[in-house]
Amino acid sequence: MTAIIETHQLTKSYGRHRGIVEVDLEVREGEAFGFLGPNGAGKTTMIRTLLNHLRPTSGRASIFGIDTTADPVAIHRRLGYLPGEFVLYDKLTGGQTIDYFAALRGGVDRAYQADLIARLDVDPSRKFKEYSKGNKQKIGLIVALQHRPELLLLDEPTSGLDPLVQQTFYDVIREAKAEGRTIFMSSHILSEVEKTCDRVAIIRDGRLARVDRVGALRDLAHHQVELRFSGTVPAAEFSALPGVSDVVAEDGTLRMRVNGPITPIVHAAARHEVIDFVSREPTLEETFLAEYGHGAGTPAVESAR
């Protein structure tokens, strides 16, 4: 498949402050790509650098095979963008705002535009300043989607949308993907990435920590195991097993994190009187948190008792 976005050692720094550091990334045609990271990790900097809103400090990026600094207008002609935070013209109505961006782009399918307005349930006759945060976000989404771009760059796209409209948004994204368009989407909401994306990249402190398929990322992740004993908790025995870490013994219960197969745990448990055994596949969120070391050892455990 053709690479739509390619970056090589892409770096952006703001004076002494870090933005993104030596990012190597490839997003292929027709895939939905999730870009995850906590606040300040560099997600927005990455997207703004791809748009040439920010000039790379070093390295290079290309979209559709065009260097982002060489001909950004040619790139912009083929993409749709929704920033994480944006302001538009207060005095224009939502409909006038959508029309203005349609005029800047040209070639907008009016029927599709009207369909988006109807599906996202926007009243286009109200002034932009009168809209709620969610309705402003809807206008931004329509502006980004209305010209059926080949590439969608979406920075936290469902921020402020109610659950019903979020579902509509996911439908629209799925349709775009089915039509072979490419989606690059940053998000904090991992369930959203799980629902919509094929691959995911995790960015930490400006550097790419991991890029993988959504499913593979989960497979590679740890299991959270909880054993409840009737007698003494044999913490030392389990700590010595391969792949076991973060062992916590508390009130007859042993909790641990297991990387790799859990067979050694099962064998060791069989040698003791075990009241309950819970092994849970982590959600992408826990995988994500594990990447950052935030509370990965104490997830909410749902027992299948």
């Binding site: 809103h53 207008v73 912009h76 961006f101 782009r105």
Partner: protein, 560 residues
């Protein structure tokens, strides 16, 4: 099951540096946020008073020259007197400064206060930060009081600087008996100026919780200007006299401390009214739903005028209201001046010594013609106003980036250079509107006085060229450095240019310094004398500024 509640940890201590920097309290933060406006307003008024008093002392240093000023002021037609203060002791330094700027400066400080106090609560409520603030430990009433106290404090500080400059001028420049301005008079003048600001701001502060910021600014501004007009024009239009005392300009019209005349009780009335407005604003903010205002419906602008067909149309549509406002103001100014030309020429023709003094400052100008009079009276202020108009227009253009709109605009096929050039075209259209309305004002006003009107009307083009040059500087700064700096840069260059152009000949500074002022190279356009070098310089600055801005903007990061 028992619940264990952790005791609330004491709030972290705020460092002395943070407190000084304005992060120790809402009051401190308000002071910090207001510092630029205070420095600009107080600084400009203080320095203008200093410069004017120095200039008058230097150029009109004899009793005879002062008597001729007095005679000239007395001959000013009532229609023009409305723009100036009450003519009391105008043959003295303080009296003249009070006459020339006494009525004008409160409009400047009042506008500052209106903009600040209408927005200090309403704007923060609108952008959502007030929700966070009001959800904290401070009651709403205290939030409002702290914010108000912050503004009152910066007004007091700015006026303290004005008092200091006035006192310095009043003790350093006197050349004739009566020229001295005592520290008490300086403080009394600055105090009045500050109160005039606060009472105007109080109206906006009281209305903003009910009507929102925009309507509060509009109503408070209208009340202030109505008070100014009613007071100033009651002599010219006797029908206005009964209404003159409905506003604070009328109440304090006898308080002229720089001219040696005091009316302290009138200041008390103004203070009480301001206090009433503050109390209403505080209570309304404390008791009403946060951010819920009544809407005043205005006629909708047709879609065809919204400029949604492309970037040039959009920029023009955004800029036109500002251009129209400046044009109407400049047009009215031109109308009033042009309509009083005849009376002035008659007075000038009787005052040979005054003519000689004026020629010392403005050589080669025939003041005994309509154009010559307008060259003296209109162009000087006209250039300042057109420069400041350029600053505000450039500020509107820059708002695309400073507000964050540009983030989405430049993700379309709109090239950076095209965006900047579209903005420049919009600014030029708005400047053309300003110049056109100024020319119409002169034509209408001059029509009653007769004489050659075509030449001064064409002369207003100089204002447009000058404004375009200043705008070019703004585009260059905005494009290369940061668009948020564009408007302040234009305002600063305009004011510095005026000071250099005015002070260099007045203070006998080397000609090379005077030559630095672009306005000194425009010739006498109102009498049909044009200086090609200045015109070329204006065009080069306008076009070159846009080109430099476009070049620089395509090479820098977009502000996020």
């Amino acid at each position: 099951m028992t619940a264990h509640v952790e005791p609330i940890a004491p709030a972290p201590r705020i460092s002395a540096w943070s407190r000084i920097y304005g992060f120790g309290s809402i009051f401190g933060k308000t002071l910090r946020d207001s510092r630029r406006a205070a420095i600009v307003t107080g600084g400009i008024i203080g320095l203008i008073l200093l410069a004017v008093m120095a200039g008058v002392a230097s150029q009109f240093g004899t009793i005879e020259a002062r008597q001729e000023i007095k005679a000239l002021v007395e001959a000013v037609p009532p229609i023009l007197q409305g723009l100036a203060g009450k003519p009391v002791n105008v043959e003295t330094l303080g009296g003249y400064a009070s006459y020339k700027y006494g009525a004008f400066f409160p409009l400047v400080t009042g506008l500052w206060s209106i903009l600040a106090l209408s927005g200090t609560l309403a704007a923060e409520t609108r952008r959502g930060s007030m929700d966070i603030l009001a959800a904290g430990t401070r009651p709403r009433r205290r939030i409002a009081i702290e914010k108000l106290a912050g503004h009152v404090t910066v007004v007091v500080l700015a006026m303290a600087f004005v008092a200091l400059m006035t006192a310095i001028a009043g003790s350093a420049f006197p050349v004739l008996p009566g020229d001295e301005v005592s520290p008490v008079a300086a403080v009394a003048y600055a105090g009045w100026l500050g109160l005039m600001a606060l009472v105007a701001g109080a109206v906006a502060f009281a209305l903003a919780p009910f009507l929102g910021r925009g309507a509060a600014v509009g109503i408070a501004g209208s009340v202030m200007f109505a008070s100014f007009i009613l007071n100033g024009y009651q002599l010219a239009i006797p029908e206005l006299a009964p209404f003159a005392n409905l506003g604070w300009f009328g109440w304090t019209s006898d308080h002229l401390p720089l001219a040696g005349q005091y009316d302290w009780p009138s200041l008390g009335v103004v203070a009480i009214v301001a206090l009433g407005g503050f109390v209403i604003g505080i209570e309304a903010f404390a008791r009403r739903d946060l951010g819920v205002t009544s809407t005043i419906r205005t006629p909708a602008i047709p879609t065809s005028l919204r400029g949604i067909g492309g970037p040039v149309g959009r920029a023009t549509s955004e800029l036109l209201p500002t251009g129209l406002s400046w044009g109407i103001g400049l047009g009215l100014f031109g109308l009033v001046l042009a309509s009083s030309t005849g009376s002035f020429i008659e007075q000038f023709s009787k005052s040979t010594q005054l003519l000689q003094a004026l020629e010392g400052v403005f050589p080669d100008v025939d003041f005994l013609s309509t154009g010559g009079f307008l060259q003296l009276m209109f162009i000087e202020f006209g250039l300042i106003l057109s420069g400041l108009a350029a600053a505000t227009l450039v500020g509107v253009w820059a708002s695309d980036e400073t507000s964050g709109r540009l983030e989405m605009l430049l993700a379309t096929p709109l090239a950076r250079a095209r965006w900047l050039v579209s903005g420049a075209v919009g600014v030029l259209v708005a400047i053309a509107v300003v110049v056109g309305l100024a020319a119409v004002g002169i034509a209408v006003g001059g029509g009653t006085a007769g004489g050659d009107l075509a030449t001064p009307m064409l002369g207003t083009t100089a204002l447009g060229l000058y404004a375009a040059a200043m705008a070019g500087i703004g585009f260059a700064v905005g494009g290369v450095v940061r668009s948020g700096l564009a408007a302040p840069a234009v305002a600063i260059v305009t004011i510095v240019t005026w000071l250099v152009d005015f002070l260099a000949p007045t203070l006998g500074l080397p000609d090379a310094i005077h030559q630095l002022a672009l306005s000194s190279h425009l010739g006498q356009p109102m009498v049909g004398v044009w200086d090609p070098a200045g015109l070329i310089a204006c065009v080069v600055l306008a076009v070159g500024g846009v080109a430099v801005g476009a070049w620089g903007f395509s090479r820098r990061d977009l502000r996020g």
